[in-house]
Symmetry: C2
Subunit: 450 residues, 2 copies
């Protein structure tokens, strides 16, 4: 909370300086912040204030700020810059972030900018890979160390060629064909004796990924093996680039947000202050699909209009059965989706998961069935009604455990994201089944209920 307060105060101060024409003073304030904070601040400023600030900052300052933003915000931020200005900024950016920004522009704009750039060689190869793959989040590799270099020589080499490199976590050792043959951590370089060779201190068993690996998988590997960086190599073992832990922290948060939003049936690029039309585009389609499934279940209820007309209290009780099925099904589904997402299970475990969830579902069904039957009996005093709602609850919770496992597993089996759409299927099934089980049983026992 404190952080936000400070940020609000800073924005007010900078706005005030700009209103009084003290642009240079405002720019100076911005320069003293961490780029992550400057990025947030610039994002909050009004459009024309932002343009004035960007003009005052040096290209490398603008580049540092852009590197802290996601693609959408970067594109928004640079929309008033000329081609020449933006090309200068892109030259100063980390290649992976420059590629990310170029990927957010139209193909024509990107081509013109690449023509204007001086250091496009590092960036262009990165454009070939989809953004959410290892290739899309990697940085170009320029670590040309060789195994016969001594620690002393390697340090001199680094001082000469790598003074500006931010992502210096590990040193990769390549052979003459650019193939990766070993890795030396900065830690082991510092701890080694100066006259040892890299060949002596390097680890030869280097973990690496091909460029098409999904970014979530890359994140999982880095997290699992506590790595700071992971090399990306092509099918001949040549080094293409490295993915670093700071990119991965962002990936993990992004992927978690995506899962959370998809489970809640919200477009995954939702933001708290998305413009209203975009907020509606992110949510209305899901609500509309749910409207269709809701009408489906209401036609099921309509089939039993005669029964409800005779015993109106059934209408009061039926949502309980449907809702509990939905809740229990969504519990199981969420655990399955998250465990798939964390790589703890795969589709191959479907049968084992299903057996586990059926046990849980049946036990829940018995317990909740007894509870609902008891409460209904205390309330309404009809033992047949209690029996009916208890049985319907048991049946619906059993089915809830089936669909809670099978829906996400099936989506995953066909290469779809199990977080996307599972809630809808689970809820629709448990609604329709809950209503028809309960009202069907009631119709069968109708003479005992009137």
């Amino acid at each position: 909370m404190n952080e936000t307060t400070t940020m609000d105060a800073l924005i007010d101060q900078i706005q005030a300086l700009l209103e009084h024409g003290n642009d240079e003073e405002a720019a100076q304030m911005l320069r003293e912040l961490h780029p992550a904070d400057s990025a947030e601040l610039l994002y909050e400023l009004e459009d024309d204030s932002r343009s004035r600030m960007l003009q005052l900052l040096a290209w490398e300052e603008v580049a540092a700020v852009l590197e802290e933003m996601d693609q959408v915000d970067m594109v928004e931020m640079v929309k008033d810059l000329s081609v020449a200005e933006l090309a200068d900024v892109l030259d100063e950016m980390e290649p992976d972030m420059a590629a990310d920004l170029l990927g957010g522009l139209s193909e024509d704009e990107a081509a013109v900018l690449i023509g204007e750039m001086e250091e496009s060689d590092d960036v262009v190869p990165l454009l070939a890979y989809p953004e959410d793959t290892a290739g899309g989040i990697m940085n170009s590799a320029r670590h040309m160390l060789r195994r016969f270099m001594t620690v002393q020589q390697a340090m001199e080499f680094l001082r000469e060629y790598y003074a500006d490199e931010h992502d210096l976590y590990y040193l990769y050792v390549l052979d003459r064909y650019q193939c990766l043959v070993g890795v030396v951590s900065l830690r082991s370089l510092v701890l080694a004796e100066p006259q040892q060779t890299l060949g002596e201190i390097m680890a030869e068993d280097v973990m690496s990924v091909p460029p098409e690996t999904d970014q979530e998988e890359v994140a999982r590997l880095l997290a699992r093996y506590n790595l700071l960086a992971l090399p990306v190599i092509d099918d001949r073992g040549r080094m293409l680039g490295i993915v670093t832990v700071d990119d991965v922290v962002d990936v993990i948060e992004e992927e978690a947000t995506e899962d959370i939003y998809r489970l809640a049936q919200v477009g995954e690029d939702s933001e708290i202050f998305s413009p209203i039309p975009q907020a509606i585009r992110n949510r209305l389609p899901w609500l509309s699909i749910n409207m269709v499934t809701a009408f489906l279940s209401s036609t099921v209820v309509a089939l039993f209009a005669g029964t409800i007309g005779q015993v109106a209290i059934l209408a009061a009780l039926m949502p309980i059965v449907a809702a509990q099925g939905g809740n229990a099904g969504n519990q199981a589904m969420t655990i399955v989706v998250r465990s798939l997402g964390l790589g703890q299970i795969t589709v191959r475990d479907a049968w084992r998961v299903l057996r586990h969830e059926i046990s849980v579902g049946v036990l829940h069904g018995i317990i909740l069935g007894l509870m609902v039957a008891t409460i209904a009996f205390i309330w309404l005093g009809n033992p047949y009604l209690s029996l009916i709602i208890g049985l319907a609850m048991l049946g619906n919770l059993f089915v809830a455990s089936l669909v809670g496992v099978l829906v996400p597993m099936t989506l995953s089996r066909f290469g779809l994201d199990p977080a996307l759409g599972s809630s809808m299927f689970v809820t629709a099934t448990t609604d329709i089944l809950g209503f028809s089980l309960f009202l069907g049983l009631a119709t069968f026992f109708i003479q005992r209920l009137t």
Copy 2:
């Protein structure tokens, strides 16, 4: 999938070796794996196989494997070790992980083990902090560098005292009172000239946190500022320890899982194969509370039993209004909860968020109200019924946007986790309100419906 296949095959192989009494060969296979993989493998083995394997591994090998596990699994894994054995293992573990393991045992057991340990000095101070704080996830600080040391001296010092240190990302420079005065990254150490002093190359503006900082906040700072480690200091500026990026990656995944599970009303320590009794403990309480709220809304419906008795189709339509309110309310609630969790908004933004969500809610209400009215008219042909369901939908979506914002904001305002319980409140409100609005209007217009 490939990974899991390999893991399954490995487990089968090791089980087979153990069955034939080739214990040493099995242990050798285990030794060749990354500790993260050994940990998973040991976890999957049967109890007695696991004990036999643990006996064959050296203490530092057991320690490395335990460091890859969470607290619950660690405690489970060591339950057959004697006090003397476990004390030896604890001595080999990273202090933060040793503290984590000790924290999972009873106080008496922990005290006995600490008495047996040789290197308990690094671990004991860590036990004072709750596990989900900076103090709970930090490692002891032993970086006693001083500003007058040259780069050359610092490297020699590191070679002598830090050869075993895994978490060597930054070098912290302390004054004679153990107060933190600067930081030197390994990168700048390698890139500096040997005769420069640390005082010259260190950054003096070091970001740090007090030990009681929530681990989620620590993770957010590391992610935001792309740090590899963050020092923890007491209120006099003395260095207590460091939190490193590999711990933080785990924290981010844990916190995301916690949010996802709480939003789905599942206990946050759920695991896909939790034993059945624990799975039920994690889910049944939520289902039971939802049963209570479901009965509450069913008493509301029961108030209108007379109306439903006259026009049974109302029972078929009423769940549509309730469900759409629930869906829309949960969409808004989820975005608010996640944005609070990511630190993008705080309770201070409640008013702005509310205005935004009311706009979205009213627009959704108008669109979905028209949709539902149209479909109902096509289906049933009664314009009054269409009008009633359209208006009820509009009203319920308006209220959904209110509760979707106010429920998580209020929980957060009182220091509670907004992910916990919000879904229940939102769904209960939109159910009760959806039923009473729709059935209330129907009762008012009853003569037009029969």
